[in-house]
Amino acid sequence: MDMAKYRQVFIEESTEHLAEMSSALLGLEKNLADGEAIDLIFRMAHSIKGMAASLEYDSVTQVSHGLEDRMQEVRREGCVADPEELALLFRGLDRLESMVDVIRSTGEMPPPDPALAAVLTNCLDEPPSESTSPELAATASAQDAAKKKAQTPIQ
């Protein structure tokens, strides 16, 4: 198989999926129980996971799998639990965007982020309680970045 061809398809399709996820997350910000947005983010994460696994981009597979697991739990609950969980989802999106950027520019597998994958997957783990924690600072930053990106037309 011509894996270079599939890498290009992966970059194009993932970029579209991530843009859709970004819009859906912004929708969830207004309504934490937006079922359509929840389903879409779940499907997009699942799709990116499948493509990344096919290309052996294990680091992307891990984070997208974590995001998929988290969204599976959100689907069960019927809503995103709270703004902290939403911020974590934004952080997952942000990391996937940066990983796809690395693949686009280098063709190589991006460095892994096992800590984020674990936080996303371990749905029962409590997020840090201090609003000034580095974890929340990172998620807030990711959220801001997604908002800015959502205001930029897709080329």
């Binding site: 198989m1 599939y6 992966f10 493509m51």
Partner: protein
Amino acid sequence: MARVLVADDASFMRQMIREIVESEGFEVCGEASDGVEAVDEFKRLQPDVVTMDIVMPRKSGIDAVRGIMALDPSACVVMCSALGQETLVTEAIQAGAKDFIVKPFKPDAVIETLKKVLEKED
């Protein structure tokens, strides 16, 4: 030559399955990018076998299997699953799917599974 309908919302996966099955001489007679389209295309094309993704928009792969079985109880559908979807695969088999293949796809395993289910149909 067996005719295959490929149902998956990811173009990436549809292209990959197409390449795998065509390399073995199967004909991809159609593609569907969601569950509703999968049922419609099944009705229109009457393929010998359908490869069906589980997670799709508008109608899930499992509901699409139910729709296809309602049209043709002898239809041959193979689910495309990922690790961790064992429960959903079981549900799909109960709905009438004949077998499943696991992502990431291994070309030999895909071909072997398709041949197996098609032989059973003969």
